[in-house]
Subunit: 134 residues, 3 copies
Amino acid sequence: MGFKIFLLVLFLALSSAFPVKRRQYTPCKHLVLYFRDVIYNGENAANATSALVAAPQGANLTKLADQFHFGDIAVFDDPITLDNNFHSKPVGRAQGFYIYDTKNTFTAWLGFTSVLNSTDHQGTILPSLEPIPF
Amino acid sequence: MGFKIFLLVLFLALSSAFPVKRRQYTPCKHLVLYFRDVIYNGENAANATSALVAAPQGANLTKLADQFHFGDIAVFDDPITLDNNFHSKPVGRAQGFYIYDTKNTFTAWLGFTSVLNSTDHQGTILPSLEPIPF
Amino acid sequence: MGFKIFLLVLFLALSSAFPVKRRQYTPCKHLVLYFRDVIYNGENAANATSALVAAPQGANLTKLADQFHFGDIAVFDDPITLDNNFHSKPVGRAQGFYIYDTKNTFTAWLGFTSVLNSTDHQGTILPSLEPIPF
């Protein structure tokens, strides 16, 4: 499962009645991040980035449930990349959980935090809480 | 389990120095929604709108746990109605999860999204995250 | 597991062109709360304040999982104290859940509500949703 996060970071213009020379900087107006999920299926422990931890009656923790996976809860610790390529160098981690909460289509409800650790965005933390169709 | 959502939608008065003829509309100041939950008990698969997906040690997924259901997590996909009648025509779906997180009374902590699809409120999405006593 | 919540409550200065005598009060600018968790291990039912309710494949509900507990979900109903002493008189309850969502260190993602019931802060409700390292 792959997700794409669009972030619009507002550029706040600073004005002053006493203009002084300021250090030039590049405002970050847009940030597009990708994260991708490899769910544990019982055999891919080395590569899996997420795991089912709860499932409805009759389902198990190594296979997504029937009926659009309704009721499955997965916890994830996914690499974040700057392009849509799982094998790019990660710039951070998206960590949290998602819940399949729809009985008649594929939608997940995500609660997670994106922690960036690249040189450009050291220490940035972006919380997210939202339903995402896919 | 039934919930009632009161929403106060603020009416923002628009003023202008150059008044022009505007299309008349009816501002939506209040919105009262109801949603109701039929939890899966092992035998009502056709009618159930929610399912237990996690429970503490010693409990199971077809019966709410003892001790005020402490520790149970349910995922739901409930119809939203405009009156307190489960069989009214739904105007949307409330989708998310709730957690019984109190050991000495009945309270649930809900995280969910209300998606409205009626003619009047097409596409409205209302996120909610709150403890609700009942 | 112990947590500490720092809250900065802003003091809003009220000014008026028509000063009148006002009742003196003490603004609450800082509030430091502690809550501590005793997780159920299969034998401490009387003292436990939290319980594992979901765990990844291969783990169980009475012992935290390997690999930094990744995938464990616990529901808690913890006493809140004003100092770092589990046995102090509680001033409220912190109720919600946490998720171990990191594979290479100990971090938890918490969603909970702090309900205060002491004389000084009767009825105060503080929602929290955040990752907390510990």
